[in-house]
């Protein structure tokens, strides 16, 4: 697909409101808007980073290693799971285990990245491949929301990504120092910030029965996988089920696409 080709634009417009498929822009205003939106998420991201920092101290990582991991991996759930399988002494099998669980937990990113072809149309490739290094669930959700509301400023994706990245790296530091001396985060409901923020931010993505059906498919697959399959496959299982259902939704005809 040539990014921003006419067919791309037409398909996107029919599918997803007025702005999808339109060429994206990149402005300072967008960067600032993204950074401001991400501020809402910084408390929970910071606390999560301290937890990962503390876990890495307990597993014997040096401060430098812990900071490096947050700096260049920047994917909290996968860092946590990788630390669970972190061996005391590394051999080839240990490396494979750590990299393998990281690949599994982060596999949803390949889907998110694929969908950004629609929403970064017209952006220069070099810039895009650079800032895709900062792609995580929170800034993806911020940008998906921005597009659904008719925006097309890639600065929103990058501004929120950079903010969250900085908070993530900075938060790793006190976590490693304190190494578990953190007061119970549950007391302040910090364990529920992410699920509630994600859900609230997703509400505007709901536009009707089409979303209801796809999300139910995602929910069923994720819960079934969570119950039946050990490990961390359930997010990507739910994501794939939702996408598949949306693609083959029996209530949506290919040609007679209602205007949305």
């Amino acid at each position: 697909m040539a990014a921003g080709s006419p067919t791309d634009g037409a398909a996107g417009q029919r599918m997803n409101g007025p702005s999808a498929g339109e060429r994206a822009i990149f402005t300072l205003g967008g960067l600032r808007q993204g950074a401001l939106t991400a501020l809402m998420m910084t408390p929970s991201v910071f606390v999560f980073a301290t937890v990962v920092g503390a876990a890495s101290a307990q597993k014997g990582l040096t401060l430098g290693e812990a900071m490096l991991m947050s700096l260049i991996v920047f994917a909290g759930a996968s860092q946590m799971v990788a630390l669970e399988v972190w061996p005391q002494r590394f051999d080839v099998a240990g490396i494979l285990a750590v990299v393998g669980v990281t690949a599994i937990v982060n596999s949803r990113l390949i889907l998110m990245s694929a969908s950004l072809r629609l929403w970064l149309a017209g952006q220069p490739a070099g810039l895009t491949y650079a800032h895709l290094a900062l792609l995580t669930d929170p800034n993806y959700v911020v940008y998906a929301r921005h597009r659904h509301e008719g925006g097309r400023d890639a600065g929103v994706l990058v501004g929120s990504g950079v903010t969250l990245w900085l908070v993530w790296v900075i938060g790793t530091l006190p976590g490693h120092w304190l190494a578990g001396g953190i007061a119970d985060p549950r007391r302040w409901a910090l364990d529920l910030v992410m699920p509630i923020v994600f859900s609230v931010m997703a509400t505007p993505l709901w536009r009707g029965h089409r979303e209801t059906r796809a999300w139910l498919a995602a929910a069923a697959a994720a819960l079934a996988c969570h119950a039946l399959v050990p490990g961390h496959w359930y997010i990507v299982a739910g994501a794939l089920a939702g996408m598949l259902f949306a693609a083959f939704d029996p209530f949506v005809a290919d040609e007679a696409e209602p205007a949305r």
């Binding site: 002494r89 080839v92 950004l116 072809r117 364990d191 529920l192 923020v197 995602a218 949306a246």
Partner: protein, 107 residues
């Protein structure tokens, strides 16, 4: 089986491996989509993704945490539907969870 190189540098190798595979995913989806002709079905699938990822991430967490989390989430979503304001909705959901926990409810 102990390898002298890996027993010294194993952590760094593992961290770099994690970063590499994660960047492959982050850039790879975008890259591969460059070779695929857009089709309405594919577009619909990709448009459905953000919501599907959120549902698949959040629901198991709520299930693990218990009814308290479900109530807090419901309050957050209810306030969002009512006021259309993210900050107010998140604050309401979290306040609900904190109050229920202060009240001694499990979860």
């Amino acid at each position: 089986v102990s390898d002298p190189f890996l027993s010294t540098w194993g952590s760094l190798v593992a961290i770099c491996g994690m970063a590499l595979v994660t960047y492959l995913w982050r850039g790879g989806g975008y890259f591969l989509m460059g070779f695929i002709r857009p089709h309405p079905r594919l577009t619909r699938a990709l448009v459905a993704l953000p919501g599907a990822v959120i549902v698949a991430t959040v629901l198991p967490i709520i299930l693990r945490t218990g009814p308290l989390a479900a109530v807090a989430l419901a309050v957050g979503l209810g306030v969002m539907a009512w006021r259309r304001n993210d900050l107010v909705a998140v604050a309401a959901g979290l306040a609900t969870a904190i109050l229920l926990r202060v009240a001694g409810l499990p979860g």
